[in-house]
Symmetry: C2
Subunit: 468 residues, 2 copies
């Protein structure tokens, strides 16, 4: 029951045989494929699974889980591989279940504004499909993540300030439980009070309670019109205050993103822009032609009152793309700051009243450490990321970075915030959970994990260990 | 571990002694108070607890739970007593923990649009308090329920179509667990991906996993302007189609309520109105002066396209009250239909595309049974209620009503819906959970309940039994 050792080579051999007999060459043990299935954008070392099974149906997922359950071998669900906290690592080996082939969109119900999809469908694929219905799925974490992965990590991103996170946009799930049973968490009705909220228990469970095989999602009508703009501010504080005022006055902003001065400088260099090198807010409004124009104007007034501006905005797609270029190129511009070194992203989230203080203290810490780490924030939610450029092979650099990461989380905790607003816990943030929520909450999580997965085969070593 | 028998008289005597020593005359065993704490608006017989303890702090809740845990005696949390499915009954006796004295509003954070309250605060008390901040808490289940009770039953009501349900509006909870530990489910940040969603697990758990002692809620700015109106339709189908069209086109309707013809007739008689006795929709929009006028006009066009009208609307408070009088008086008008008999309400929820069929079949069933049961619906969510006027002392009538209720739920299930959109399971709907979600989901719920409450002391006999 405790943190078990790796399964023996004989056990792995037996599982490999059983899965190869069933799945043929869709059960892969090659080094390259195994490495690829555990390698994600993180400072954590890659820990590959023993094999990867490319499944195509819920029944196949069930078969894999049944074989693994019988042999007590770990199961690690794999979607698009875009997670950030070591969620796909296999510290005890086991079977990576690659769900990217489960790509069917099973139903779209335009009258009900919902759809039913398999977990391997990515958000961009879904939105391409939905265009002809005049509908879209708003959650946008940046990467073209799989919807199963987005369920698993409780993803959110730029649109969350208006449309909520995955927790708010999943109606029902089907999942294969650790015992091989298939659970349906809810019916397709928009709301329910029928029993414990198993849907929300699975959203954010990071594959540790079961493998999601079907997802019913809320959809929204494509906005009739969009306005988007960019506005420089004299300080992070002024930008944060403008954000607070925008939300307090009920302006239904769809996106409100902060780039700090370091990030603006990076993107100026990378994309040959000439933005003033101060914090900027990028905003987007969704609504009627008249509505989005009004909203942009009101935002401009708020920004001006707080010393921001000039606020440039537009409604034509090509103009909006130009204005938002700094945001679209942010990731690539960071890469270019230190060629040869991949940035890794971390995120925290605090009550918005603490956001300016939290960002400013973090900037000071970054400077004091001599790190290169631009900041981008989904500031409407009090959530921000920093992309740290670090040579993970340098022990000295990693020591500095680990100290920085710990202080970042401690700062979030001191300000009533969380160690992760949207990336999840994975391996990377396990040690912060107890300081954040206290021992009784961790006990409750452990009791739930043990109850549903007594042999700890579902993505073990993520979120919580079975013993304190 | 299984469904235990009632505690012995000696055990109850020991618990009474311990709690009276601690709480003095705040531990009450009088018949009247015990009866009152289990009596709610339901067809289920009242099953009183052995005693009621009037607590004032979380520490006191913890002390009660510790005593009960030691003696394995049931704990039944009590808020305002407005639940509808026998949630407050004490089939195994035990201690009703009356939280109505825990009424402190601990903090309001206008910049963060949140507040922290104790569970005994009612929604009207909270909204009175918030007025001076220009803020409000939108969830409105009709009754002046306690916020703790609204958490417990995952309440929603008329505003849910725009603002969501309790699941969407609770940021964090503090709860005393069955072992007496105090759990904090989340920090005050607006979003988090830090571990299992204990907050959502408690929302809708009906007091079966612990006693909620502190609630952090999302707030909203009071709308600058409100428009409200009433519109008759030739049929339920036309009214449902107008609702679908309103939502599909992205009109941000705050409330959209259906009264069926029987309900309109009742309210005409009760309130001396002269509305045409056909289905009506009552709508409300929140926004800017200009926005709410535009929205009302667009709704009027949609209604007219579907054969509805005339649509009468207004923005002045006194005119809005007049137009919505039929809705405000609905409950009282039903009472007046059969003097001496109290109506009890039941609710189901289906995907909105099935709503018209579901209501029309239900109306036919009501007529065939010879029942008096007007229908009121939160139709934007596909959720409707019927208030059944039945003499609960008549076995013959109750047989007819029980058959009707079962067919109502079966109809919801056939149409991909749920046995309860917002009232909860309690005792009344336990038997419908497995047909709704399947045995594996019930197994998962049982495993969670057993893991967190192995002695089954928390509101036993609600939602799930420990054994299938």
């Amino acid at each position: 029951m405790a943190e078990a050792p790796k399964p023996s080579p004989a056990t792995i051999a037996a599982v490999t045989l059983a899965l190869q007999q069933r799945f043929g060459n869709r059960c892969v043990t090659s080094e390259a494929v195994r490495q690829q299935h555990a390698h994600t954008t993180t400072w954590l070392a890659t820990e590959p699974p023993d094999m990867v099974v490319f499944v195509e149906t819920a029944e196949e997922v069930q078969q894999v889980v049944q074989v693994c359950a019988e042999h007590r071998v770990p199961v690690i669900p794999f979607g698009a591989g875009s997670s950030l906290e070591g969620h796909l690592n296999a510290p005890r080996g086991g079977v990576s279940v690659d769900l990217s082939g489960m790509k069917r969109i099973l139903a779209v119900h335009p009258e009900d504004l919902d759809c039913v999809v398999e977990p391997g469908v990515t958000r961009k694929e879904l939105n391409d499909y939905l265009k002809s219905y005049g509908l879209f799925f708003p959650i946008d974490p940046g990467a073209d993540a799989s919807l199963g992965g987005m369920v698993a990590t409780r993803a959110s991103g730029t649109n969350a300030v208006r449309y909520g996170t995955m927790k708010d946009n999943v109606i029902a799930l089907e999942a294969v439980m650790p015992n091989g049973e298939v659970v349906t968490t809810a019916r397709r009705a928009k709301k329910t009070s029928a029993g414990y909220d198993l849907t929300r228990l699975f959203v954010g469970s990071e594959g540790t309670l079961g493998v999601v095989t079907k997802i019913t999602l809320k959809l929204h009508g494509l906005p009739e019109a969009i306005s988007a703009g960019v506005c420089p501010f004299p300080s992070v504080k002024a930008a944060a205050d403008a954000t607070i005022m925008t939300i307090q006055t009920g302006l239904p902003v769809a996106r409100i993103e902060l780039l700090d001065a370091v990030q603006v400088k990076a993107v100026n260099a990378y994309s040959k822009l000439s933005m003033p090198e101060t914090p900027v807010l990028l905003v987007e409004f969704h609504g009627t032609e008249q509505g989005v124009a009004e909203q942009a104007e009101r935002f401009g007034e708020i920004a001006a009152d707080l010393g921001g501006g000039p606020f440039e905005w537009a409604t034509k797609p090509e103009d909006r793309t130009r204005l938002w270029q700094a945001r679209h190129d942010a990731y690539w511009s960071v890469m270019a700051l230190r060629p040869g070194v991949k940035p890794f992203a971390t995120d925290i989230c605090v009550p918005i009243s603490h956001l300016a203080d939290c960002i400013e203290e973090t900037q000071a810490d970054i400077a004091a450490c001599g790190l290169i780490a631009p900041i981008v924030g989904h500031v409407g939610d009090g959530n921000f990321h920093t992309s740290v450029l670090v040579d993970t092979s340098s022990e000295a650099e990693m020591t500095v970075v680990k100290g920085f990461l710990t202080r970042l989380v401690e700062r979030a905790h001191r300000m009533e915030g969380t160690c992760t607003g949207e990336h999840g816990v994975g391996q990377g943030k396990m040690k912060y959970l107890e300081p954040e929520l206290g021992a009784p909450a961790l006990d409750a999580m452990r009791l739930i994990k043990r109850a549903l997965d007594p042999d700890n085969i579902m993505n073990p070593g993520k979120i919580v260990t079975l013993q304190p």
